[in-house]
Symmetry: C2
Subunit: 717 residues, 2 copies
Amino acid sequence: MRPCETATWLLAFALMLARQAVAEDGYDLWLRYRPLPAAQAIDYRAHAAELVLDAGSPVRAAARSELLRGLTGLLGKAPKLSDRGSVDGAIIAGTPSSSAAIARLDLGLRELGTEGFLIRSVTIDGHRATVIAANADAGVLYGAFRLLRLLQTGQPVDGLNLRDRPREKLRVLDHWDNLDGHVERGYAGNSIWDWWKLPGYVDPRYTDYARANASIGVNGAVLNNVNANAIILTHDYLLKVAAVAGALRPYGMRVYLSARYSAPLEIGGLKTADPLDPAVRAWWLGKSNEIYALIPDFGGFLVKANSEGQPGPQDYHRTHADGANMLAEALAPHGGIVMWRAFVYSQDNPDDRAKQAYTEFKPLDGQFRDNVLLQVKNGPVDFQPREPFSPLFGAMPKTPLMMEFQITKEYLGFATHLVYLGALYEEVLRTDTYAHAKGATVAAVIDGELDNHTLTGMAGVANIGSDRDWCGSMFNQANWYAFGRLAWNPAQSARDIAADWARMTLANDDAVVRPVIDMMMTSREAVVDYMTPLGLHHLMGTGHHYGPMPWDASGARADWRPVYYHRADRDGIGFDRTSTGSNAVSQYTPQLATQFQDLKQIPDAYLLWFHHVPWDYRMRSGQTLWQELVTHYTRGVDEVKQMRATWAQLQGRIDAERYAKTASFLAIQQDEAQWWRDASVAYWQSLNGLPIPAGQAAPAHALDYYKSLTFPNAPGR
Amino acid sequence: MRPCETATWLLAFALMLARQAVAEDGYDLWLRYRPLPAAQAIDYRAHAAELVLDAGSPVRAAARSELLRGLTGLLGKAPKLSDRGSVDGAIIAGTPSSSAAIARLDLGLRELGTEGFLIRSVTIDGHRATVIAANADAGVLYGAFRLLRLLQTGQPVDGLNLRDRPREKLRVLDHWDNLDGHVERGYAGNSIWDWWKLPGYVDPRYTDYARANASIGVNGAVLNNVNANAIILTHDYLLKVAAVAGALRPYGMRVYLSARYSAPLEIGGLKTADPLDPAVRAWWLGKSNEIYALIPDFGGFLVKANSEGQPGPQDYHRTHADGANMLAEALAPHGGIVMWRAFVYSQDNPDDRAKQAYTEFKPLDGQFRDNVLLQVKNGPVDFQPREPFSPLFGAMPKTPLMMEFQITKEYLGFATHLVYLGALYEEVLRTDTYAHAKGATVAAVIDGELDNHTLTGMAGVANIGSDRDWCGSMFNQANWYAFGRLAWNPAQSARDIAADWARMTLANDDAVVRPVIDMMMTSREAVVDYMTPLGLHHLMGTGHHYGPMPWDASGARADWRPVYYHRADRDGIGFDRTSTGSNAVSQYTPQLATQFQDLKQIPDAYLLWFHHVPWDYRMRSGQTLWQELVTHYTRGVDEVKQMRATWAQLQGRIDAERYAKTASFLAIQQDEAQWWRDASVAYWQSLNGLPIPAGQAAPAHALDYYKSLTFPNAPGR
């Protein structure tokens, strides 16, 4: 063969192999780095001829490795590694101390803090270059991922002048992972932490996990369940934790642990865990010293105390502040922090569950050490499809409040339903608390702007497991992605984030991206409609939280039973939280309390959260409540049908494996949306005796059928 | 650019992508189909120019798809699909009814049965061709995989005249998978069966599972744990089972289910499960009809009855034969079979546990229906590193005995230890039972040759889970592979099988394969040495079965306690199973009973299985028993060190990911082999008060240290 012939034959061979390479099993998440269209690649290659990045630190080495990987994948050619930009089109990345070129430029880095970065098109020594500059290595890493995102989403990269820094200091994933590998409320397989094989075997997957997080700015992970096992704090397990920390560190991530409050009894040999007991304080200080000897950058503790049966300081008649401060004191010498959860309620407290966290914590404002954050779930109950924001936001100005969102879909259809949570997060973050005045959004509370806190944070309960695609479905990956992006900057638009995600994950092709965004942005309202419209909440199957069980009055605790929340009877439905009821409205600032109290002002979306209303109550639409309710249920089902139809149009535009999996899941979702609608309607009908509203279909089965369904093997318990 | 330049540039690009393609995460098992060296590929391509295979049935379509995939991967070029071989070098595959060319040839297919095949080099119409011919589609599929194996292992493919058919009819994997996804004694993640999402979502992984099994001849899978949940037999779950069956069927696999004997009570609404009760019989017949309506080729039931707390016919004072026959009768109209496990022993029976299965089942010989097999574990206790064969083999000539091997390493170091079980299986299969005369090997018993059974089988307790590499480690894949190969033909050599596996899985390169075979063939004796040398057994941690716990006398049942098995004291060690003890020797044929009874004749490997011996007993080697025991422990550790050193020499010859993972695991294994040795020696020393033999190292820690270790989160429980 002549050389050219050989090359042509080899080319065919290599392309065949390359096709095998693009198996789309979802493992690569949004960091797929598949080849860009040739014209675009050629254009970008003019801006990526050389890479100048001193890899003398682990974090900068990670940044260089990612740029090499990403640019090679996207552009089909690795940039030349160089000590300095000697040609047009270099990428020069670093800090003033790691890059002489960056030190020489006047970039105004100071305001970027320790994690911010800038990307700027410059001319150095007569050569065009793109500079990624930061004060510290983490910023270089974040800048590297940002530059790659520009390419992945097809943005221009000439004339760049982009500056960014995170608005939240702590951007943390909470893994509810048990030491036996089970993930509580996890629907994507087992825990990715293989405690059994650690520290002897450090799974390379930990590095890919860290890469994905760094790409969206997540800088911390709580490795174990808030329903914690004290064994994680034994020396043998701390060695395992240290091995994980070693894998995450090059990507700017710190590890945290959930601390079981009674650990001094369980593994410490003490007879008390009283936070004011000197031996207990000494034990935690010793444990803190032991941890930091193994993990110098350990982040700190997350604590669920005196909540749902967990031990805590109240077992010793101490306050949550006493409890948190004792741990904070032990961590403070090493720079660690405590994230103390405000998710508390007691079956012994007859007051409305939605009120109890506020009642408990509001009086403690100002009593926490300055390395304590109070971690508050977005709503006052528990991660429902829609809740009003927790009244604690804005009510504790002297305490840094950290947001806790749930990324895993405990109450939202587990892994199979398509529900884009970016829309939920955005709705919460943009809500005005009216704390001091109009404009005091939840975002302004948690990013510290409102009350001048510098210790700020956002936590997301991870949806990550050992499934190949990490999250159990491709669209669940979008929720991890959106969480990270919003933790970095709560002001970002959920729609824009969805667009970026879809371009990187599916295809940078408007014919795909536009319909996908439509599906995503519709999906959250759809799930509210088919599960719990008009402010209904917590009607899911008791325990497993899957499927409708509004009739259930059998749970171990009154406040775990659906009937506690809907209070429906022959005459009406809804939880009266106005002044004639539990008066939860009074926990909000006066503007909101007035609005929520008043039937004329209450938004439809919160109607049955705050009001008990007759079935024949006339809604703004002119329909009765009963008609409106059924209309919402039906609309939810129709929205899923529409999502399914939209997806069907994308067949052929998306690889077969991901197309088929999502198509299967949407079919499941449609069936289950119908089940939710029909079971709910049948049950309400059994109470109110009203006919199905005109034009609406009757439930497919009688109520007894829905009541007969059981799910003994539901995952995530 | 000139065309040739473009091609060269594209080539570099494509090769880069191709490099990304060869991520070696183990998912592809031994079906990697990576490109062969160019010279070899060119040679083989002359024999794979065209593919003539009528894909008009699902099984033949699977065969064609696999040939296309394999040939394209190995040779870099897809064969041309053709209706008939029009050029030299066609592969013509099919049955006489699906291929006119094959129908015309005189191939002598008859003796190949329904699953056998031949591969022959022929000339048809003047063209060289390779024929894969069989009587039925399954044979075509097996032949396709065999041809691919020839290429994968670098065998010549001209002048082929290869005929093969399976020696066992049922070649079955037993999955001990629970409906909640947990795998009992599984160390490779969760169950691959995603019952929660089935039948709405059928994971493409099921197809890859079936491909792997077909490639080694496995033709059945029991989907659920022998400690069964009756829910699998409800209609909703049968729909899920049917979906799995649909994915496996094109690869010649049938599904089976473990049946819980008390299902008529639990899901049938009956008040009894008495096998002689007409309502019970009717219920099972109805259930069988229901199953076959959904799954026409359903295989049948596996049953663990009256064993370790499972329900069974003895609850109603009926025999195992009564119990098995009732189920067999329900399945018989549809061609289904019952695999009834002989693994029974009772804590209420004071007799030696090793004797109880024989005592129970031997008298039932001849009482089972002809669609019942008795499934017998290889040894009389429970999957230990080494046991003598179960005396039932050869003792029940009127009953088809099916072998039950364990592939998952419950007692052999879980996922991390490298133990090649092909060596164990081979040792068992080649053992002479002396049933009628010399030469009546265990293999001859189970393949039906000895007693003229046509219903034959071999089961392996699967080591498969949701881990990306299926089995928790690459070398565990070899155990799945060896099981399948030996189930197809128990006469094959474990070493040859190891060689094939290594060539396909690692590299077809003697510099890799030879050392790897050495490691594998050493590994089984190593684990016997460092865990339970000289016939010791069942000294693993009670419950989880990990690590040494010879001192444990605390288990819930006497026959679950290590001290039950070693019976060591100041004076000696070992279980007297001779006529002066439990007389288990009498369950073997006279030749073996005599040999096992006699201290002069007993092989060292079974010494302490059958004899209680003083510590100063003089061994054949001239050493005392105590010296010999410590020598074995030390040798076990040394063998692992040697395996580790051998592996280290392969660095650079194996891709980094698989090299590193195995290196980590071998380091863990070495630590744990040392732990086994030291803890065992320390404990025996605490009993016998003897000094450490000269030249041997003392244990690293005092006995109390080893006793203090706990493993609350050990997997697989």
